[in-house]
């Protein structure tokens, strides 16, 4: 029997939209709704692209450096700099050269591009580790404080307040010479000790805000009936905290992460600029520190790390704002 195309198509046409609707209604969790809103936000998309590029640079820094034929910390002051300690090739005195696309550093003759690429790696690496660890600490402490009303909650709240009152800058200032002195005779250890010390300081001062936020969320959520229901069912406290409560706090956590990242990038650069951060490993802040005095004669030296910091921080901040808006049901657009 021959069917006309029309007859065959008819049931499909009525069926399809129905199925699509079903599929759309099924699995739309609040997280997915937020992601969908984020996807339609142009600024957020541009910013994530920029952040993604920086992440790729950080991950593939050695590869990119090899591509350009540059190496980190490979300068030789005697052969690469002239009697005024300025580089013998590239800017500022000579024209552009592929041998050193961003020029060489005065005094040391280190390649600026290589330093910049590895600086991105340091910057994002430290920021990511600090954010991840301080987020984990903040979540755990906030959950425990919120769920254990009574003396434990009061002790933890007191510790949070104390930490918030401590001056981050002073502690870092005090810590830097101690670390430097302690590992002065072991340069390789010193390099890592500085990175670890800086990361630790940042983590140390980075977890309180989130802990406080989470504690407040737990206090309001724990009175909700679904938590009571979980307890009536005999769900262990650990599972109540992590399976019932935590998924309801994804919004504040994601917002906190997206605002924490740019803060840590800035802080790392700032500390390194002040000379209390890391010295042994390439870092934008440290380059800025060295380049400031050459700004009149060799501006490119300063621009490279500043543009890096600026782009990354602005992109991260705008992205963080967009994420916060996407998760906030009150800012429907």
């Amino acid at each position: 029997m021959a069917l006309t195309p029309l007859e065959m198509a008819a049931p499909d046409v009525t069926q399809l939209p129905d199925q699509e609707k079903e599929a759309e209604i099924a699995g739309r969790s609040p997280l997915q709704i937020a992601l969908a809103r984020l996807r339609s936000d142009k600024i957020a998309m541009v910013c994530s692209a920029i952040v993604l590029i920086f992440v790729l640079i950080a991950i593939f820094a050695p590869l990119i450096a090899k591509l350009f034929g540059v190496e980190v910390r490979a300068g030789d002051p005697s052969s690469d700099t002239d009697i005024f300690n300025f580089p013998v090739i590239g800017p500022p005195d000579h024209g552009f050269t592929w041998k050193a696309p961003l020029g060489l550093a005065p005094n040391t003759g280190d390649d600026n591009l290589a330093e910049w690429l590895y600086g991105a790696r340091t910057s994002l690496g430290i920021a990511t580790v600090s954010t991840a660890v301080s987020t984990l600490i903040g979540i755990t402490i906030g959950l425990v404080a919120g769920f254990s009303r009574g003396w434990l909650d009061r002790v933890i709240s007191f510790i949070i307040d104390t930490f918030l009152a401590l001056p981050l800058l002073l502690i870092a200032l005090a810590l830097a010479p101690i670390i430097t002195l302690r590992f002065a005779d072991q340069p390789t250890t010193l390099k890592y000790a500085q990175v670890i010390a800086l990361t630790s300081v940042l983590i140390f001062f980075g977890w309180m805000q989130l802990a406080r936020l989470i504690r407040g969320e737990v206090l309001s959520l724990r009175e909700r009936e679904f938590v009571q229901a979980a307890r009536v069912m005999g769900v262990p406290t650990r599972l109540i905290l992590f399976k019932e409560l935590l998924p309801n706090m994804m919004a504040p956590i994601i917002v906190s992460i997206s605002l924490g990242l740019p803060f840590f990038v800035t802080a790392e650069a700032g500390f390194s600029y002040l000379g209390i951060g890391i010295v042994g490993v390439p870092s934008w802040g440290q380059t800025v520190n060295k380049a400031v005095e050459y700004f009149d004669t060799y501006p490119l030296y300063l621009y490279a790390p500043v543009v890096g910091i600026f782009l990354l921080v602005v992109a991260l901040n705008l992205l963080g704002d967009a994420i916060r808006d996407a998760f906030d049901p009150k800012t429907r657009r």
Partner: protein
């Protein structure tokens, strides 16, 4: 009860398309109360005092909220006890004590030979399978970040009721039992209506096949038209799985068609408890009478012709500082001196009927003298009477075979 008595009930309860007594339920005999049936839960002198703390650094206890202050009752196998009272009288607290969301201050809760009141939280875990709860607010009782499958499957996983692979199949069965599409297991709660959500909550409570279900105002957050459907669903599952219910409600209309036995609470105490006919047709406590008169559902002619609506004056007093003697006296139109001086005992006055009032009587038949003086060894004003000795009264949470007859003022046997 007859058809004609039910008809006005549904019209009074609103434009309910389905009354509490829908067609399919009329064939089944309305649940009867059997005072000799075995009790599954036996609560004796249960108390919960919440400490009131001072503010400031050193937080001293400056008082106690006497949320539940010595309640005793029994819930019989496969039966239902309705717990009724105004807001703040301690109904939810009682329910949460039984499910051990709160630890009791004093008292015992015997369930299958174990005292739920003294079990450690660890020892309580296996008991949780037997005692489950349905919550009031369908919008807050389901985790918004979990799918229906996860919500209903959680109790199965926690207690390892079925192997992991069979959880989903079991969840679908449960969804079908409560009248939901079993294929909706991967949806989130926000895609369901209030009534549907309450059904999900019921499915979750049924997952462990409990013997006792505490239902804390399970329908008061729902539309009147939906209320009847959910109550009917509860009755179906009760009959199908032989579950005993502690059904909490704030008015007498909802429990009327569900519970063969009713307890009325006021300020942390049970003031009247008895089988349905005793409480609805022969209420002896002024507070019950006031609640009944405010309830549109209850037939008007039962208690001596047309009844006026009794308006209670004032608010419920604070449970931090409850009135002396009878707690209802600040709002009671019968209150006399004795009510302030002596606390009325919860006295069994019929086969299955207890009441706590010095002037216990049906409406408009108030006795001239308190009925409790002889038992308490006091005179009519409530002062101690040197000439008489107080009688030791039974503390049985159930009903005795011997009770105090109000007419003859003496104990009679069944």
């Amino acid at each position: 009860m007859t058809e004609s008595e039910v008809a006005p009930a549904s019209s009074a309860a609103g434009q309910a398309p389905e009354s509490y007594e829908s067609a399919e339920h009329q064939s089944a005999a309305p649940p009867r109360f059997d005072r000799h049936a075995e009790a599954i839960l036996s609560v004796t002198d249960l108390k919960k005092y919440f400490p009131v703390k001072s503010s400031g650094l050193v937080r001293r206890t400056i008082g106690h909220v006497q949320a539940v202050d010595g309640v005793s009752f029994e819930v019989r196998k496969g039966s239902a006890l309705g717990l009724v009272g105004e807001s703040g009288c301690g109904k939810s607290t009682t329910g949460r004590l039984i499910t051990r969301l709160y630890d009791p201050t004093a008292g015992s809760m015997m369930f299958q030979g174990k005292d739920l009141a003294t079990l450690s939280h660890k020892a309580m875990t296996p008991m949780r399978k037997e005692v489950q709860m349905i919550f009031q607010d369908p919008y807050s009782s389901l985790n918004p970040r979990h799918t229906v499958g996860t919500i209903v499957g959680t109790p199965l996983r926690v207690h390892n009721v079925v192997p992991d692979k069979q959880v989903l199949g079991r969840v679908r069965e449960l969804l079908e039992v409560v009248g939901l599409n079993p294929e909706h297991y991967n949806r989130y709660p926000n895609e369901f209506s209030g009534g549907q959500r309450q059904r999900i909550g019921i499915a979750r409570a049924l997952a462990l096949q409990p013997k006792l279900l505490v239902a804390d105002e399970p329908v008061s957050a729902l539309d009147v038209s939906i209320q009847a459907q959910v109550v009917n669903l509860l009755r179906d599952v009760q009959q199908e799985f032989n579950i005993a219910f502690l059904f909490i409600a704030h008015d007498l209309a909802v429990v009327r068609h569900f519970c063969p036995e009713i307890a009325v609470m006021y300020l942390g105490k049970i003031v009247e408890i008895g089988d349905r006919e005793s409480v609805y047709d022969h209420a002896h406590h002024p507070y019950t009478q006031a609640l009944l008169s405010a309830s549109p559902d209850v037939k008007q002619a039962a208690i001596g012709g047309r009844r006026e609506r009794i308006r209670l004056e004032g608010d419920v007093p604070s449970p931090i500082n409850p009135p002396s003697g009878c707690r209802f006296r600040t709002r009671c139109w019968l209150a006399q001196d004795i009510c302030a001086k002596q606390e009325p005992p919860l006295l069994q006055i019929g086969k299955s009927h207890k009441v706590a009032c010095h002037f216990a009587s049906e409406l408009n038949q108030t006795p001239p003298r308190p009925v409790t003086t002889g038992l308490l060894g006091v005179d009519d004003q409530g002062n101690h009477d040197a000439g008489s000795t107080p009688t030791t009264l039974s503390t049985n949470p159930g009903y005795d075979d011997e009770w105090y007859d109000l007419k003859s003022k003496s104990f009679v046997k069944a």
